[in-house]
Every structure is written in structure tokens, then in C-alpha cells.
């Protein structure tokens, strides 16, 4: 069992080949995907052809990139010329992108092989992958349970070792929460670090692309291959990217770990225990543990469920049945309004409709100031609260999710589902970075269910965040793989 970096090194040194790696993952996908539903489609022929060409280049001694020959899975809201891009929604069934997202170009330039597209909550709206139009995704640790969401297909694919790594997107926890529930690493970069060109927009002031991986060093490497300014995305920060891979193994100097008192309310016992073990680890490393106060933790979900649906209903207005996507065949759609309204009602699933309705309501006449403007003001307070906290500490430690994976169909009330992200939404609201790390198991239900811890750091503090996360990973001995 190995991570992406180890596989890359073995391919580079000739110990194995890219073709062997691709064939191995495809065989595992064929065997496991009918149960897990992690992949929507795979690119078997294209992946084999890319692998053969990379193997020939390596054999000929040609220079290859930092990801040469490693098979990577892509969440289905990141556009690829290869195959289709559906966002796990009927409204985009059979949509073929005329271009590759910037992250796809950058992965390809680094030598990575696209092995397939992964299922997700429809339009990235959900925390369980149950809103996927192509059926629920299952957690490889216990297939009666959810993998988390919305990047649940990517998380399940990495957890079941069906790829070397995967890309996801994180608007309020959609990389970190499924990583936590699947026992792998999930990283959300600072807002503006990675181009969103070719990411189907959900919440434009919140969305970030990031990696789901077997290890922290894999996450750092993928981040470094993708990060940096992009002429196609004006919200990408025009600042140089530090070499986080090179500095990764430096044992961090004295650093301070902040522990918010508000992160200890109502968590599963195994989750609190994982945080406590992490505190002991950082103490033993010589870190200073600082109590901090984040009283607005509690209002993050409310703030998020005004801002995110408001942005979503604007972004999803483009799906109108005219230029692309599902168009109604209803005979009653004889004018333009009806064509829009029937196409959208037929094409969007229930959770997406709910958020469009919520977003339209909070932006509507008479409610804009009371909801949307107020939420943006509270967003500033949340940002200020983090700024104050980061005056006292370098990273904030806490749980990623209050619980381990729940059963499929176990959470039916929308509001309870939204609460899954109580510890992750404020990261996006403030635009800072966060990483979820595997941190043990909850065995209280009789099965081993992974639990994660989260480290958050200031915007653009990725180099420090990765170093601290890596030191924790090394002390833990890396993630546990599922025994066959």
C-alpha cells in the first residue's frame, strides 16, 4: 500500500510502470465500483494510451513531470474534454465540455493520467452524496453508510484505493468532510490559490478546488502542481506559490495550536478523543497549546445558508434549456417562460431546487437587506474573529465533522444535514485554508468508521499548514488502508 508520491517514484525508477498502475486501478474499479458507485465513468482506453506513452518517455530517459504516470480521478463538476461533465445532475446529462479546466491542463502538464470522473452530490449541494442523480455513493469502510459530500465519489475512490489521488471542490466543507468520513486527507486551499476556470460555479465567493489524497505529502504535491495565477480566472490571487514540497519535511519551529472552546459541543466521543490525542501529539512536539474563542462558530451555518444559496441561484440561472443541458419535452411549454420553468423543474433535483428557492427568497425585494446584506456583514465579523484568533495561534485544531459516517437514509431533515458542516463552513466564509487528516476510528457502532481532525490556518499560510500536518501524519504512521 502506498501513496501517490511512492507510486510516482516507483514508476520513475522503473520498479513499476504507469501501465501497470492504470491496469491495477481499472481492475479494482471494475470489481468495486458496482457497489461503491464512486465513479460515474472511467477513461480506460485513453488512460492506457497515456500510460504507454509516459512509460516510453521514461524508458527513453526523457524528462517527465512531477506527476508522471499517476492516475487521478476528477470530481464531475470540473470540466474535461474527455467524457462528459454532469455535476451528477439530470440537467447536464450528456454535457460535453469544449475545453479543459485549468487544473486539468496543469495536471496533464505535470504528467498525470485522468482515470475517470467521480460522482458527487448534485451541483455539490449536500454532505452525503445521496443527492447524486445517478444513485448514492457508498462508504468503502461500511457500504451501508454515506461517504460524506459533496466530493464523496472522490473520497470513496481514494479510500478504496481506486486511484492515486482525486480532485474535489469545497464550498462549505465538501472536500474535508468526506475525507474525514472516508479516513483520508482532504485539503481546501485558501480562496484565490487555485484557478476555478472550468469548475462549474456553485458559490463564487466560496468555491475552491483541492485534492483528496492518501497522504499530506500527496496533497502538498498536487496543490503545488495546480496553484498559481491564471489569466482565465480573475479571482485567482496574483502572488507567487511557495515551494511547499521542498519545505514539507522541515520540522516546524516552535508553533502555537489554538483550541476553540466552541469546537467541543455535541461531538461523538470518538471525535473528541481524536482531537485530544492530537493535542497530546502537538504538546509532545513542543507546540504551545492556546485556548481561543470563536463565538461565531455557531452562526456559521446560518450565514452560509444565506450567502451560498444566494450565489447558487444566480450561478444556476444559466441552466435554461436553451444553449445546453436538459430541455423539456412537455407540450405545455409553448412559450419561453414555460420552457425555462419546466426544463429546470425536470432537470434539477430536490436539494438543488430547495437551495435555488432559498437563494431567490433571500435576494428578493424586501428581504435583501434583512438576509443577504446582514449575512455579508456577519461574514466580516467571522473573518475578524479568525484574524484575532490567528494573533494568538498559528493553526486552529478541531474536529472536521461532529460524527463519523451516518447510514444511508439516516439523515432526512435538510437542516440536520446542513449541520454536518458546522466546523467547515467558516473556513470558506473567511477564505482561509484547512486540511482534514485521518485521526483514528469510531468503533461504537461495531464497525470501524474513520474520524478526522481539522487544522485551519490563515489565508496563504499553506507552507506552515502542510508542515504541521505532515509532522502529525509521520507520527501517526500514515493512513490505514482497508484490508481486502
Amino acid at each position: 500500500m502506498s501513496d501517490l508520491v511512492a507510486l510516482r517514484d516507483d514508476i520513475r525508477s522503473g520498479k513499476t510502470t504507469a501501465r501497470t498502475a492504470v491496469d491495477g486501478y481499472l481492475a479494482r474499479i471494475e470489481q468495486q465500483n458496482p457497489t461503491l458507485n464512486a465513479y460515474r465513468e472511467t477513461f480506460a482506453n485513453e488512460a492506457r494510451a497515456s500510460a504507454d506513452s509516459i512509460d516510453r518517455a521514461i524508458a527513453a530517459g526523457d524528462v517527465t513531470g512531477p506527476l508522471a504516470g499517476v492516475p487521478i480521478a476528477i470530481k464531475d463538476n470540473i470540466v474535461t474534454r474527455l467524457g462528459s461533465t454532469t455535476c451528477s445532475s439530470r440537467i447536464l446529462e450528456n454535457y460535453h465540455s469544449p475545453f479543459d479546466a485549468t487544473v486539468i491542463d496543469r495536471l496533464a502538464a505535470a504528467g498525470a493520467i485522468l482515470i475517470g470522473k467521480t460522482n458527487m452530490d448534485e451541483f455539490a449541494m449536500g454532505s452525503s452524496c445521496e443527492t447524486c442523480a445517478w444513485g448514492a455513493v457508498r462508504n468503502p469502510w461500511d457500504t451501508t453508510r454515506v461517504p460524506g459530500g459533496s466530493s464523496g465519489g472522490s473520497a470513496a475512490a481514494v479510500a478504496a484505493n481506486l486511484c492515486a489521488a482525486a480532485l474535489g471542490s469545497d464550498t462549505g466543507g465538501s472536500i474535508r468532510q468526506p475525507a474525514s468520513l472516508c479516513g483520508i486527507v482532504g485539503f481546501k486551499p485558501s480562496f484565490g490559490r487555485i484557478s476555478r476556470y472550468g469548475l462549474v460555479a456553485f458559490g463564487s465567493s466560496l468555491d475552491q478546488i483541492g485534492p483528496l489524497t492518501h497522504s499530506v505529502r500527496d496533497a502538498a504535491l498536487l496543490y503545488q502542481c495546480m496553484a498559481g495565477d491564471d489569466g482565465h480566472d480573475s479571482t485567482c490571487a496574483p502572488r507567487p506559490v511557495e515551494d511547499v514540497v521542498k519545505s514539507l519535511e522541515d520540522v516546524p519551529r516552535a508553533f502555537r495550536v489554538g483550541l476553540p472552546t466552541q469546537y467541543r459541543n455535541g461531538n461523538a466521543a470518538a471525535v473528541d478523543a481524536a482531537v485530544t490525542r492530537a493535542v497530546e501529539h502537538f504538546k509532545a512536539m513542543g507546540a504551545e497549546i492556546v485556548d481561543i474563542d470563536l463565538p461565531l462558530t455557531d452562526v456559521g451555518i446560518s450565514t452560509y445558508y444565506v450567502i451560498a444559496p444566494a450565489e447558487a441561484c444566480s450561478n444556476l440561472a444559466r441552466f435554461d434549456g436553451i444553449r445546453y443541458g436538459h430541455r423539456t419535452k412537455s407540450a405545455s411549454a409553448h412559450d419561453l417562460f414555460d420552457l425555462y420553468a419546466h426544463s429546470r423543474a425536470e432537470g434539477f433535483g430536490r436539494e438543488v431546487q430547495r437551495r435555488i428557492m432559498l437563494g431567490t427568497y433571500v435576494l428578493s425585494a424586501g428581504y435583501y437587506d434583512a438576509y443577504y446584506r446582514r449575512a455579508l456583514q456577519i461574514r466580516r465579523l467571522i473573518k475578524q474573529e479568525f484574524d484575532t484568533a490567528f494573533g494568538k495561534c498559528d493553526v486552529i485544531l478541531g474536529p472536521t465533522s461532529p460524527t463519523a459516517a451516518f447510514t444511508i437514509g439516516g439523515v432526512t431533515d435538510p437542516l440536520s444535514m446542513y449541520m454536518c458542516d458546522v466546523y467547515t463552513v467558516n473556513t470558506n466564509i473567511a477564505g482561509i485554508c484547512g486540511i482534514s487528516l485521518p485521526a483514528g476510528f469510531d468503533e461504537s457502532t461495531g464497525t470501524r468508521l474513520p474520524v478526522g481532525i481539522q487544522l485551519q490556518a490563515q489565508a496563504f499560510a499553506e507552507p506552515l499548514l502542510f508542515k504541521i500536518a505532515r509532522s502529525y501524519e509521520c507520527a501517526q504512521g500514515g493512513r490505514e488502508f482497508i484490508s481486502a
Binding site: S234, R323, F337, I378, Y418
Partner: protein, 107 residues
């Protein structure tokens, strides 16, 4: 257009119908009623925001403090029209087929 804040109840079924119209969603009566129940519950939770003092706070629309960034004024090739039209549900030559537009949207 009616102002939603005029209605007395927090979110009546007529309000939900009006929002669905604004959102261009043709929903059944049953679905509207279900959404009404769900939205009332969610908005009830969001109500906690009203208790926070926001006096004098500048709304934060975006995490980055970037000013407008202008691209160099250099022509670049656009996307190929044939490939773009491949995704369109109804076309005629290089045109998208739509229902009659003049005459306005239905009330």
C-alpha cells in the same frame, strides 16, 4: 411585482409560488407545500442572524481584496461554434431554436 415583505405570515404558500416563479421553476402544488415547510424551518434557524449587532459593518462580498483586474487587450481565438452547438438541445444551422419570444413571458 409584489413585495414579499408585505405578507403577514413568515412564508405563505403564495410567497413560495411567487419565489418559484422568480426562480423559473414549474413546481406542483404538492412540491410547493413541501418546500414551504422546509423553507420555514430553515429560515427559522437563520433567524438567529437577526440578534447579532451589525451596526457600521461593511458587507464582505468576497474574501480577496482584489481590485478589478484587466486582461491585455489582445484578441484570442474563441471557442469553436460547431463544438459549442453540439450541446444545444435544439438547433437549426448555426442557430439555437427557441419558442416565440415576442409577446412576452406568461404572467
Amino acid at each position: 411585482m409584489s413585495d414579499l415583505s408585505d405578507s403577514k405570515s413568515p412564508l405563505g404558500i403564495d410567497d413560495v409560488r411567487h419565489v418559484a416563479k422568480l426562480a423559473r421553476l414549474a413546481l406542483s402544488q404538492e412540491r410547493l407545500a413541501q418546500l414551504q415547510r422546509e423553507l420555514v424551518a430553515i429560515l427559522g434557524h437563520i433567524e438567529q442572524l437577526q440578534a447579532i449587532d451589525t451596526t457600521g459593518l461593511e458587507p464582505m462580498t468576497h474574501p480577496l481584496t482584489l481590485s478589478n483586474r484587466l486582461a491585455d487587450d489582445v484578441p484570442e481565438p474563441g471557442m469553436p461554434i460547431a463544438e459549442l452547438l453540439r450541446n444545444a438541445p435544439a438547433t437549426e444551422g448555426v442557430f439555437l431554436v427557441v419558442p416565440k419570444v415576442l409577446g412576452g413571458e406568461s404572467a
